[in-house]
Symmetry: C2
Subunit: 167 residues, 2 copies
């Protein structure tokens, strides 16, 4: 019933790296929540949900797709949509193609909330993550995070960017 035999411990560099990563994973989400909570009175997850809707066709997504896109569980999304609905930023519609499914739709007020909130949030992301790094490090981080993500969640999906400038 034992699976471990002579575990491969982390060497000094690996251990240091691990502690650094733990620290970032602990503090960065709190910092993002703090900025959004202070300046826009929403959580980072709530922002993420609305941002994903704002990038979607018809500003609409099925609940389960939206949950995956925003990296949250379905119950968590359901309750988040409750809150956003109460504030008038999102509404629910039954999916005409599948009676079991529910569509979340960003309202006009929700769109404006995202537009008003985005600049401050992007500035914070720049300040905390992008600007402290060199351009080369940003590319390195892209590849590193991609590898870790695949190890953690082999079948996770990333939002398909709406081709900001190019075709």
């Amino acid at each position: 019933m034992d699976a471990e035999q002579e575990p491969r411990w982390l060497d000094a560099v690996e251990q240091q790296t691990w502690f650094e990563l733990i620290a970032v994973m602990s503090w960065l989400p709190d910092a993002l929540d703090a900025q959004l909570s202070r300046d826009a009175d929403i959580s980072h997850f709530e922002y993420q949900v609305m941002a994903m809707l704002s990038m979607s066709a018809q500003r609409t997504r099925r609940m389960s797709d939206l949950a995956a896109l925003a990296n949250g569980s379905l119950p968590r999304l359901s309750r988040t949509i409750d809150r956003l609905d109460r504030r008038g930023w999102v509404t629910r519609r039954p999916d005409p193609d599948d009676g079991r499914a529910t569509l979340a739709v960003l309202t006009d007020a929700g769109w404006e909330k995202v537009v008003a909130t985005a600049p401050g949030h992007v500035a914070e992301v720049r300040r905390l993550v992008i600007d402290p790094l060199t351009k080369a490090q940003v590319r390195q981080l892209h590849e590193i995070a991609n590898r870790i993500r695949h190890a953690v969640q082999p079948d996770a999906c990333l939002p398909t960017l709406p081709a900001p400038d190019g075709p």
Copy 2:
């Protein structure tokens, strides 16, 4: 009252990198919690607290030091110590040097719990983070995480490693 004027948006690479990082920050903590919860019936934060104590002189730390070391708030640590105390892995002692302070001490049973849990946890960290990366990428991640951490928490402290082999 406006602070934003023509925000500097993220370019495609920066945006992709940001989404990758969000995904990792969302899923990796859950994956660590899942392994520890499944194999050792403790949360990652609880493990972190005990691991930090196990590295400390006399297996003892002041609550506030321990909270900073484990990247948590003092109320969070206080309640975590409650739970670990109830399970017999940690005890509280008043600090003889400062009557306000409380010392958390890892018991023998707690030490054994860490020893029993560490191999499986390290294996998971390897599987999810270290092994998917090249040696160069581990070094890159170290520097990248260090820069982000300083931007997020200028005065954060990292555990001083007990010089695993060298002096």
